[in-house]
C-alpha cells in the first residue's frame, strides 16, 4: 500500500529562505515531513504532502513561512450546524472559488 497522496501542485505553502533562521520548528510541527534541513536553513522537500494545516507558519518565529491554512468543513462541528451543512459547505466552497 502506497502512501496516501492528494492532488499535485496545488498547495499554497511558501518558504522564504532569506528569513529562515534554521530553528527547525517547522520540521518539528509538520505532520507530513514536508520540511528538511538543507545546510543551516529549512527546505521544502515534499511540497505535495502539505495539507495546509498551518502549523509551520504559526510556529515560525521568523515569519519565513506562508500558507493559506484551513480545515475545510470542520467549522460545522465548531458551530454545531450539523443539519444541512454538507450542502452549504459545497456551495460555499464552490461559490467563493479559491
Amino acid at each position: 500500500m502506497g502512501k496516501l497522496a492528494y492532488l499535485r501542485n496545488i498547495v499554497t505553502l511558501e518558504l522564504h529562505a532569506d528569513k529562515c533562521t534554521g530553528c527547525r520548528m517547522c520540521m518539528e510541527v509538520c505532520p507530513h515531513g514536508v520540511f528538511v534541513l538543507a545546510g543551516k536553513k529549512a527546505k521544502i522537500d515534499d511540497r505535495d504532502a502539505c495539507m495546509e494545516c498551518g502549523a509551520c507558519a504559526r510556529n515560525c518565529a521568523a515569519g519565513a513561512i506562508s500558507v493559506r491554512a484551513g480545515v475545510g468543513c470542520a467549522s460545522k462541528f465548531i458551530h454545531g450546524q450539523e443539519h444541512g451543512t454538507v450542502a452549504r459547505c459545497f456551495f460555499r466552497i464552490w461559490g467563493y472559488g479559491v
Binding site: R8, E28, H32, I93
Partner: protein
Amino acid sequence: MAQPSCSDQRDRPEKGRCCPGPAGGPECGCESHATVSGSAAAGHWIVGQVDTPAGTIPKVEARLRFQDRLGAWKARWAIGRMNYAVVPGLYAVGEPGPDSPVFVTANYKMSFDVLRKQLADMSAWVLVLDTRGINVWCAAGKGTFGTDELVKRIATTKLAKIVSHRTLIVPQLGAPGVAAHQVKKRSGFRVIYGPVRASDIPRFVENGFDATPDMREVRFDFRDRLVLTPLEIVSWGRRALWGRQGLIIMLTLVVVSGLDRQGWLLHKALRLGPWALAMYAIAFLCGTFLAPLLLPWLPGRAFAVKGAVLGGVAALAVTWFRWDASAGWGTRVNIAAWAVLLPTVSSFIAVTFVGASTYTSLSGVFKEMRLAVPVHITATIVGVVLLVLGQFV
C-alpha cells in the same frame, strides 16, 4: 497568510453558545466557567483531589472505565457527540508535584481520555483547554485550541504557582493553533511539542521528552479510517436514508419505477422499485463505508475519482448480475441509468470524506469540488433522464 479563522471564534461567542455542543450545557465554554474547581468538575473520572499552593486540584484516574469506552463508542456513532466534553482547567494524574510535567489537551472527552490513559505510570498535570468539546486538531485548525486560550488557561489555573518549571507539553497536532514562541513571550512557559498520537507518550517520556520522527508523522491507517465510518454512515444516513430528504428520494424512486406507457403499473413498481432502492443503498454504502476503508487502494488522487471508481465497479457488478440478452430495452436503459447514477452518488458522498482525512489540503479540496460538483450535477440529470426514459421504451 496565517489562519484567518483564529480570531473568528472569539469574535462570535454567541455562535458557540447557541450550538448544541458543550457550550449549551452546564459544562459550557462560557467565561464564567473558565476557572474550574474540583466541585464544579463532576464526573466518574475524578477520584480525589491534590492540594497545591494555588488551591485544590481535582485528581483523575488514568484508567478508563466501561463508561468511558461506551462514551467514546457512542461519540463515534454520533450519539451525544456534540456534548461530549469535560470541564476545562487543571487536573492531576497520580501524585504530581512542582516538578511534574504538564500535558495540554482539549476538552473533548475522547481527547482527554486518550491522554490520561497514557499517563498511568507517571504523575503529571493535565491542562485542559476550552475547545468547546472539539478535539485538539480540529480545534487548533479553528484557533480555539490556540495561543490565546492556552495563555489564558495558564493564568486562570495559576499554573505558575503550582509547578516550579516552565515547560508545557502540547500535542503536536495543536501546533496549527498554538504559536510556541508567542506562548513563551506571553506566559513564560516553553512549549514542547509532544507526539501526534497519545499512545506514543510513554515512549516520548522515556526518550527524554523528545519525539522521534515517527512520532511526528500523521498516519491514516485502516483502523483510523474504520473508526470514522460509523460517523459517515450516521451523518449521511440521517439525511439520505432515514431523513426527510432520503425518504422523499426513495419514495420517488419507487413511484418512478412504476411508470409505464400504459400509465402507472403496480407490478412494475414492485419489480423495479426494489432494484432502485438496492442501487441507492449500494451507492450509499460505497460512499460512506467502502470508499473510506479502501481509500489507499482506489485509483486516483481526488476523492471524487476514488468514489466514482468504486461506484463504477459496483455498477459493473450489478450490470453483470442483471444483464440478460433477452431483456427488453426498458431494462437495458434502466441498467444504463444506474450505471451513471451509482458512481455519481458514491463519488458525491466520498468527496465529503476529505473533511475527515488527515492529508488533504484546503486548496486541493477547493479545486476538487469546483471540478467535481458540476460533473455530479450533470451526471445526476443524465441518470435521472435515462431512468425515466427507460420506463417508457
